[in-house]
Amino acid sequence: MADGFRGRSLPPPIASRNCDDPPIDYKDVTYLSKFLTPQAQILSRKRTGFCAQCQRQLKQAIKRARHLGLLPFVG
């Protein structure tokens, strides 16, 4: 029986990624912004659907883009 919260399922992962692909580029702002919440927080692995290595690459790329003012720290 769904109790309102526990029964709610998350939407499917945003993207799937092959680890052999070239590393995520911090200059690809359009791609990176897909993995941010409206408040500009980085989405979790549960939401992105990435493996640990890819999620780490994503985190690093977003942080580099934030440093250069390409992405916001807070939305």
Binding site: Y26, K27, R64, H67, L68, G69, L70, F73
Partner: protein, 161 residues
Amino acid sequence: MNLYEGMFLLDNHAVRADWGRAKGAVTETLAKHGAEVVSARRWDERKLAYPIGGKKRATYLLTYYQAPFDSVAALRRDLELDERVLRYLILNADSVPEGELEKSQAELEAGFAVPPPPADEEPAGRAHEEPPAEVAPAEDEEPAAAQPVPATAGDEAREED
């Protein structure tokens, strides 16, 4: 000698004055520290996600250069002191991406014109501009949002409570 990728955020005032000089400020600093610039080009000019050094817009200079590994610390120190460079990011690079050399070479050609960056500041008081005549109420002094909303049955019930 290692290959590095350097992204430099340049002040638009310097870029507007003379792009070649603004670019030269970075490439000369690199050369001063023993770097050999492979490619350097204007990557983009865009609005920043947040103000940096009081600037809302800036120009990005993307460079690939080979430099001795022990020169990076001194290079960083020089870049910190340069007021034209708002931010920088220096990364190790495996290779120069395809097409990067061509784009850099195209910028060096005589006919290439770097588009001048637009004005930094947005028009002052833009948020307080008067709305267009169609939207503005013709005679009412109060704005539309402040007009009383007709009470619904639910509201009346709440008021009774």
